[in-house]
Point group: C2
Chain length 325, copies 2
């Protein structure tokens, strides 16, 4: 039997495949060569998860890999109708990014509450100016997106004394359905987006939504950029409909130096780094190696994406309709 | 019986004395008039807790108030040998500042771990530059000062997954004694000072101490400025003995525009605000009103300072030698 072929849509630094060395034929593709190499691959590892190349190349000619793994939580850049309709299994990097992102969100919430950006500005001006902070204990947050990232954010904020409402696609147990979102938003101090980008979440945070928020409230997006209508968030901040916002993800990444977003008042911009803590690439590589060994052994894969929905359903919370993985 | 006289060492805004209105003769002093008014007062409320006026005026002529309350956690600006040796009861504002300060420290730890200052700098330069953050879960902190503020910091950081060692004046139960400090410091990622300023803590954080810390570690002071030898902290940062520091308190406050501290690399400066959240002055006023009612009623006062030690001992942790309050 020929050695299976693992195709890696690569980015620098390349994945360290550790124990797989010599057990699989590894080929590397970039965005341009992906289409021609796809028919040769049994497995595709989407290591460059910022690329749209899979969606562009997939509808082409010839056999397709039986399994596609992406080294990211979101699969929005990957899924095209042809891949969704195919028998190819798609998996994601669930388990790697939850805690780092939850810490990042807690850090943003505390930075806003204690006006850390103002403190750094005043320091540059060598100006001692005492202000009053806010206590986050007892404040209210809405977390949109009830997947593992949204649930970890909820857990961490709850531990800091924040009263958190978690909103998912459907109401179940302790999770609110979308029908509660407006009511919860209207009295929240913090609205945090950690949902997957799907056709039903695209553009969901626009003028109507920001108009519901309290003038003292802040909006944080660690999900995907296209869920936010950036121009309407900018307007909401300039008109002081809301007190602040932090975006870690954008319609177009990287954000160019000419983007009007950089100097919107009250807007904190970070370069899609909320989930990336020292060693993250090693953890992503190790996770893929473990999953490859299961696959080569004929075992079921974890983290299988429901390609119709566009994310990995949470079996523990949604037993009725989760696929068996 | 004449109405008791409450003397307030005032600052703007004055305390709202609520229910005491009409039940006590209130007089207001500033730093200059304090000495002449002290003999008339039954109770002194040190509302301007940034002033050294009590220490300067106390050794003067005539009767002294029987009770002095300070609207602060620290009593270092207040205590002089004559007050310490007197029968006057001194109380502090224990209970007001713990949670805000613990949140502030958690915010600083997360801001350092996620390089939020770097993110804000890059935003001003309109420059997208991805970096890797640190995960604080699993990192190690040493909290110096086992009073209610240090214990609240410990609780909050522990909830975020940080492994925290708490160091107090004497070893007891889960609290380390000073003999463990060097060993714990040498492997800590975060060293947090929340101790009272006393003769044994003055200047304790200097070159020798910073030399023990890891090059990747950060130092945070939310206690009192004179515990840190500022010039030696500056040297340690410039020589990269440690990766960063945040000071909320200083040898001299406010820090003047000419202070060399403002632009020390890796040093974050905030204007003694860690405990001050919206409504803090009202909470301090309400606390004093409740305590005054106990005092007028002949009841024992809470938050009584051990004037020899310079802080309120924690009866729940230190039952052997805590005074009954």
């Amino acid at each position: 039997m020929p050695e299976p072929v693992l195709l890696v849509l690569d980015s620098d630094p390349s994945p360290r495949l550790g124990r797989l060395t010599g057990r699989v034929g590894v080929r590397y593709a970039d965005e341009r060569s992906l289409a021609t190499q796809l028919p040769l691959a049994d497995v595709l590892l989407v290591w460059d998860f910022t690329s749209d190349a899979v969606r562009a190349a997939w509808p082409g000619q010839g056999p397709r890999p039986r399994w596609v793994h992406t080294a990211s939580a979101g699969v929005d850049r990957l899924l095209c109708p042809e891949l969704a309709a195919s028998d190819t299994v798609v998996t994601n990097a669930r388990g790697i990014f939850e805690r780092p992102i939850a810490e990042y969100v807690a850090g943003l919430v505390l930075a806003f509450a204690k006006d850390l950006p103002g403190t750094l500005d005043l320091q540059r001006q060598r100006h001692w100016h005492h202000r009053e902070g806010q206590q986050i204990s007892g404040s209210r947050a809405v977390v949109v997106g009830a997947g593992p990232i949204g649930r970890e954010i909820t857990k961490l904020l709850h531990g800091l004394g924040v009263r958190v409402a978690l909103v998912g696609r459907t109401a179940r147990r302790t999770i609110h359905g979308p029908e509660d979102l407006d009511r919860l938003t209207a009295r929240a101090d913090w609205v945090i987006c950690a949902a997957p980008l799907t056709e039903s979440t695209r553009g969901m945070f626009g003028a109507r939504f920001f108009g519901l928020m309290q003038p003292s409230a802040r909006f944080i997006n660690v999900g995907r950029g296209p869920m936010v209508v950036e121009g309407e968030l900018t307007d909401a901040l300039r008109k002081r409909w809301i007190a602040g916002a932090a975006l870690d993800v954008f319609q177009e990444e990287p954000l160019g130096p000419d983007s009007p977003l950089w100097d919107v008042p009250g807007l904190l911009i970070s370069p899609h780094m909320s989930g990336d803590t020292v060693g993250w690439r090693d953890r992503l590589g190790e996770q893929f190696v473990r999953m490859y060994e299961l696959w080569a052994d004929g075992q079921p894969l974890p983290n299988v994406v429901d390609k119709r929905r566009g994310y990995v359903p949470s079996p523990d919370l949604n037993q009725g309709d989760a696929p068996r993985t």
